[in-house]
């Protein structure tokens, strides 16, 4: 049987969401990146999780690297190919020639797997914070980035453990860009059960109709699978991320299993039906010259307008 081929588009890449899919055990699958010239942290995290998902499905996977040397070398330096090889997830064909590991000039924070909660603090303290300060970002921006990543990692560890889905934990990737003005793009993802299944553990949220409704519900203050337990004040992680995204006039995508919610120009919206990626993947762009937090009323208003 001919391998199933999934060809990624050129920049962003534009068809990324559509290739998120499951395959059958025993399938031979090719993830073809040959046309790709640019991958955001959201895309890097997304395709790594996709390959992991196919591996969990029982497929044999081949990744075709980008023809663009810039893109290929960038993917190598963000440790994408290295992670694929270390975890024995996929064959890389044609094989790539590894670039110098000392040439990290265009990489801010490479694709990183955090396998246990206590490692989050260590990685943020010992690696991310010093890297940001060395690259010239101030404490305000770095603090907001750390806040967002910390909350999303917390969510990943609460909701990510699902038997048969490896690896458990959170994936992070962060990159800085200068166009249209200095900005940071970050992504945090996991291969867990997703937001809808997590919320469904509470009797208050067992009837959510789809993943998009579940995400919009989870963005409201104090909503979590723990809400029914007396004395708990949980359920503010995604709310905080939305507050920072709105307050910073940033852009955001959050996808959970088969749904995606986007934020552009201060408006939230539901994406059309797309593919399926187990777990949750959040991408956020923060502009370096304006980082702040929206009020509770502002996010309630934004959620009411969806």
């Amino acid at each position: 049987m001919a391998p199933k081929s999934f060809v990624l588009g050129t920049t962003f890449p534009d068809n990324l969401e559509k290739i998120f899919t499951h395959v059958q055990a025993g399938d031979e699958v090719v993830l073809d990146l040959s046309n790709t010239t640019f991958l955001s942290p959201y895309a890097v995290c997304g395709i790594y999780l996709l390959v992991s998902q196919w591996k969990n499905d029982g497929a044999k996977i081949t990744v075709t690297p980008p023809v663009s040397m810039d893109c290929r070398n960038y993917l190598d330096r963000v440790h994408f190919f290295g992670m694929l090889q270390e975890k024995k997830l996929a064959l890389i064909n044609p094989p790539i020639r590894r670039v110098s590991e000392t040439n990290q000039a265009d990489v801010l924070f490479e694709l990183t797997w955090i396998g246990e909660p206590k490692s989050v603090q260590k990685i943020l303290t010992d690696r991310l914070w010093p890297i940001f300060i060395t690259k010239g970002f101030n404490d305000d921006l770095t603090g907001f980035v750390v806040w967002v990543i910390g909350e999303l990692c917390d969510n990943a560890f609460v909701h990510a453990r699902v038997p048969g889905k490896d690896p458990f934990g959170a994936f992070i990737c962060v990159q800085s860009y200068s166009n249209p003005r200095p900005n940071i793009q970050l992504a945090v993802g996991d291969l867990g059960k997703g937001i809808r299944a997590s919320l469904a553990e509470s009797k208050n949220f067992s009837g959510l109709k789809d993943d998009r409704e579940a995400m919009l519900t989870a963005m409201r203050p104090g909503v979590s699978s723990w809400t029914h337990r007396e004395g708990q004040r949980r359920g503010n992680g995604l709310t905080d991320v939305l507050k920072i995204a709105l307050g910073s006039s940033s852009e955001r995508d959050i996808r959970s299993v088969s749904g995606r919610i986007w934020l552009r120009g201060g408006r939230l919206g539901r994406a059309a039906d797309e593919g399926t990626l187990d777990g949750t993947l959040v991408g956020l762009r923060l502009f370096a010259d304006k980082v702040d937090k929206a009020s509770r009323e502002e996010i309630e208003h934004a959620l009411d307008r969806v």
Binding site: G150, D154, R233, N236
Partner: protein, 107 residues
């Protein structure tokens, strides 16, 4: 009124994770119990770059709820040495979730 200063940097430069925050709550509670009636426990953030809401809610937020519900009498909680805007925003969020004031004390 007499106050006691509690250095938050003993728990790290970046404070993140609900579980880690849960572990700090007993130490804050013990410090609060040492404060005189009508006194203030002042949390110093010197050397702390950031706290996330999950961590802060499970220790500082819980103390704020304890105060709001009268479990520490007339004692108060305040913060100082808040070094950046993100840290200030996170502390304001923690107070908002707990529905209790968390004022800034003079350094």
């Amino acid at each position: 009124m007499p106050s006691i200063v509690y250095e938050m940097n003993r728990h790290g430069m970046i404070l993140t994770g609900r579980e880690a925050g849960d572990n700090v709550y007993p130490a804050l509670k013990a410090a609060m119990e040492k404060v005189d009636e009508n006194g203030t426990l002042v949390l110093s953030f010197a050397g702390v770059k950031m706290i996330n809401t999950s961590f802060g809610d499970s220790c500082i937020g819980q103390i704020l709820v304890d105060l709001r519900e009268g479990r520490f009498g007339n004692r108060k909680l305040a913060v100082r040495d808040v070094g950046n805007a993100a840290l200030a925003a996170a502390l304001a969020t923690i107070a908002e979730i707990a529905a209790a004031p968390l004022p800034l004390a003079p350094a």
